[in-house]
């Protein structure tokens, strides 16, 4: 299968296989007018399989914190005029805003309108985050 290179936009490479659609949804890429390609289960020398997202255009929010939270393997390639101008690696962010939701029914975020869902990193090794409002732990399940 061939997917063309892009002129102006980004390539999210080395996404762990199976996480591409979640990133597509969180970045709201379905709302863009430009060409977007999701490649699932591409072969990878490093990981065996990987997902790739190519966006040929601008106008989207590139949230490196969100990407780092979903998958620390991702590399973000910025393409301008068909050339790679920047390569970024992502890491677990110290804070997360509106990526995950607090599941504590006693948390104020369950009733208060118009407030962000905010979490802070509580344990880097365990990849655990706690709600900044109620301290309830949210643990991302490993695939």
């Amino acid at each position: 299968m061939n997917i063309d290179g892009i002129n102006n936009g980004i390539v999210l490479d080395h996404i762990s296989a199976g996480k591409g659609m979640r990133i597509y949804e969180l970045m709201k890429l379905d709302r863009l007018d430009c060409m977007v390609a999701i490649i699932q289960n591409a072969s990878s020398t490093k990981f065996g399989k990987k997902d790739i997202i190519k966006v040929d255009g601008t106008g989207f929010k590139l949230d490196l914190d969100m990407l780092g939270y979903i998958d620390q393997h991702i590399t973000v390639d910025t393409i301008e005029n068909g050339r790679l101008v920047k390569k970024q690696h992502v890491d677990l962010p110290e804070e997360l805003t509106n990526v995950i939701r607090c599941h504590n029914p006693r948390c104020i975020t369950s009733v208060e309108q118009g407030i962000d869902q905010k979490f802070r990193l509580s344990n880097r090794q365990k990849k655990t985050y706690r709600c900044v409002y109620c301290d309830t732990e949210y643990r991302e399940k490993e695939d």
């Binding site: 006693r106 104020i108 975020t109 369950s110 009733v111 118009g114 409002y133």
Partner: protein
């Protein structure tokens, strides 16, 4: 303009600030007349979205003894919360009328939301099962007056350690002092949440879990009893099964140290038998008295008056 100081969690206050508050509270207890007009023309709003007797009365008494005035509501049904008003809006509105706000809310983290919008100092008077920092200040003043130190203490915390917010705040506060050892006495269903244990581990605080009150009592300098709170349970059957698990009687106090103190945030149900009240080690009603004085010191501090 000075930055607004709030009290959401006990750790918002440094140990130096806590010592300052305790010193001021001591002074108020010794010379109440010197403080009787310090908050003249100031107003405290008590926004209690959840009923409370002790905390609300002690805030009211504290502000009145400082010569100030109090306005507010005693439960959510008498506020615009029933009309769907947000916490942020209620607090913003209250800030137009008062100089300082004490709020209690059943939802955890509500004071964090309030603090982001407020134009006046916010005091968290309890948010669900989360934090209750003014109770902790009360506890600290009691410990200071009865034990004359915050370090080198073995503290037994007994009862509902999962939902007991007073316990969580007290652990946070006491974990900052040297050689404090916690013995966590609870049924498995009501054990201290993991995040509190992680916090103690990170600070190198010594703690152990124990299921029998009798096993822990001889080691303790302080026994902190808590009520098994019905409103924190999702179902009645769990509440009935666990509520009588840990009851302090005169007999159980037999092997306790002569200078151990018994504390309780009150109200109690039956977890401390009335026969214990006459024991010189019982100081839970003294604790309630301390609550007014430390809140007076806190109000003065957050208003920048002392």
């Amino acid at each position: 303009m000075n930055e607004i100081r709030n009290l959401i969690n006990i750790t918002d206050l440094s140990t130096e600030e806590i010592e300052h508050l305790v010193t001021v509270a001591d002074d108020i207890m010794a010379h109440p007349e010197a403080y009787q007009d310090m908050c003249a023309h100031k107003k405290l709003a008590t926004l209690f979205f959840e009923p409370s007797t002790r905390t609300r009365l002690s805030f009211t008494a504290a502000m009145m003894d400082l010569g100030g005035n109090v306005l507010g509501f005693a439960d959510a049904n008498s506020s615009s919360a029933t009309k769907g008003e947000s916490v942020a809006d209620t607090v913003t509105m209250a800030g137009c009328y008062a100089d300082i706000i004490a709020m209690r809310h059943p939802k955890e983290g509500a004071p964090v939301v309030a603090a982001r919008r407020t134009t006046v100092p916010i005091i968290n008077a309890g948010d669900g099962g989360h934090f209750h920092p003014t109770q902790t200040l009360t506890d600290l003043l009691t410990i200071h007056r009865k034990k004359s130190r915050f370090s080198h203490l073995t503290i037994g915390l007994c009862g509902d350690l999962m939902f007991g917010r007073t316990v969580h705040s007290l652990i946070e506060a006491m974990s900052r002092y040297e050689d404090v050892h916690f013995i966590l006495i609870s049924p498995p269903e009501l054990r201290l949440p993991d995040y509190m244990k992680e916090m103690m581990d990170q600070k190198g605080v010594l703690w152990e879990e124990c299921e029998k009150l009798e096993d822990a009592i001889p080691k303790l300098d302080i026994l902190y009893m808590t009520r098994v709170q019905k409103e924190r349970f999702f179902n009645e059957a769990d509440y009935i099964r666990l509520k009588d698990s840990y009851i302090l009687t005169r007999k159980k106090l037999g092997p306790a140290k002569a200078d151990m103190i018994i504390m309780h945030p009150l109200p109690r149900v039956n977890e401390i038998q009335v026969e214990v009240d006459d024991d010189p080690r019982a100081c839970y009603f003294y604790q309630a008295l301390c609550g007014k004085y430390i809140r007076m010191a806190l109000i003065l501090y957050l208003l920048g008056l002392k």
